[in-house]
Amino acid sequence: MAPLLEIRDLHASVGDTPILKGINLTINAGEIHAIMGPNGSGKSTMSYVLAGREGYEVTGGDILMNGVSMLEMEADERARAGMFLAFQYPVELPGVGGMSFLRAAVNARRIEAGEDEVDQLEFVKLVRAKATHLGINDDMLKRAVNVGFSGGEKKRYEILQMALLEPVLSVLDETDSGLDVDALKIVSDGVNLLRDPQRSMLVITHYQRLLNHIVPDYVHILAGGKIRRSGGKELAFEVEESGYAGIDDAA
């Protein structure tokens, strides 16, 4: 069976600047992989390339989900195929009501799957239930998407979306940054609830701490647009101890 995600020798540029310089990564169903790496090493760029953001041009290699190349798919098609990106910097949408946004997202997936659109009342109940678990109150749900949310609240809201969309592959870009200790626990619990033999996750973080909560199967170090080292979760401790000094990114 094809792996859930296979990244083959991926090269990508932003504008004319090459950022990703040959990434190879295979994630099997059910696995959690963590990516660490210095600032500017290309972690967010990789997450955008996976999600299909315009302007992030793949100049070589391939991205396959369940054996099918995603390169020709637009961002919305990838999302409906089960890809989810929790943004490092979630985007404010003034004037776009949170509830109608969440409903549009969930309905887009349901329509793709040939299911009926969600019942409005049941949806509100469902959102409330999941939101309560994540410490998101009704007032936040009523506001425009991310408008007036604190940094930590935005991160929780990303996980709420993830919980509602039940993605096959979740890419979490520094979801732990900006979270207080309690929120980190709440958000991690939310993520762990979605752990499932059929789903996989790619967790980008700077801190080993997160990986105590969301325990990864593999840890990779990205530097200079390439994965320089891979290992088990002990690699995260090594990074925490000695930084990235020992990682060779000259290549």
């Binding site: 999600a51 315009e54 004037g95």
Partner: protein, 413 residues
Amino acid sequence: MPASTMQPNLDQLAGLTGVRAGALLRWQATGWPDRRAEQWRFTRLSRVEKMDLRPAEMAAKQPAAVAASLPDNAVILSFSNGVLDMAGLAALPGGVTASLLSDNDAALAALAELVPAAHPISNLSLAAMTTGLHLDIAGTVEVPIILVFTGDDNGVSAHPVISVRLAHGASAVMAEWHQSSVGLSAPLMGIVVGDKGRLDYAKVQQESSASAHLAATGLKLGEGSVFEGFQISAGGQLARLETHIVLSGENADCTLSAIYLGRDKQHHDITTNMNHAKGHCLSNQIIRGVLDDSARGVFQGKVHVAPDAQKTDGQQMSRALLLSRKAEADAKPELEIYADDVLCAHGATVGELDDTQLFYLTSRGIDRKTARSMLITAFLDDAIDSITHPALADMLRPVSTAWMNATPNAGDL
């Protein structure tokens, strides 16, 4: 240009008297707006000048039905080719008295005072008036009065002239709905809201794609009165909605917001002239424009504060959203302030949809077209949310929704 070849052909107007005769003389002296006139710098009328037109003399044989979200309980006055169907007057609610301006030169003169005497199209419409209707309103009239303008003859120009006068303390809800296919639709409106009166007002311009719409509205607000107005310009090939407002008594409160929605080669012009003649008045204008294809949008907004109009609060904000590289928006906000103790602000921006916002939405599985319309709706809601009268809001919202849904190729930006 000699009067004989100038359009519309006004030969049928021989023998005018009174106010209309004066207006005809002024029109014949000036003709279409001078190309050098600053007020017409962004809106050239050459497309209209070339139309072969004569003022309409009769209603369409089969007045068109308007498929619109008009309030259920509304009283509708139907104009076809600019000619009023008198039968509608019978249904006017209590408190509203109708008469004809053709029989009342004094009311016509009062109306003419509400717009600048040098305004060419007002003069044309006064002279070529297809119907002149005067409504006197007293007391509280809750039933919305909707003026519906249809028309089927693209060889005619329609010049409905309507004056509305709210007595002291009177209140009413009114709307204009323009959806005709006449060559030129040039309504002239004059509205006076008496002291402590209130008028909730909406205007929808949805003319056919070959029509030109050149509207002039004069508005005078008395002491402590409230005017809450909203305009949508979405139809026509060329449209100018020009409003002259005088806040003539203290503590008057005027909201006049507008949105324009353009596609193809449409040209929309929203021009306002907000005149704070007395102090302690409030004026607020929220303007939003969305332009696709090669459409062009213009907002000219002048706020004038007279020397003794202290404690004036005059706000104006215009924002345009371009959906295509060929679309163009111009804004000319002007503040002319002669009093020293005022709070006035204006601003104008032109922008595009935000890539990051679009990516955020599409990354959640929402298709691009839906994502764009969610962002455009949010942009317009800023203005539409300012309408507080529920029936008028319900009438206006579907207009922008329909426009959005009709976008075949939602721009290249």
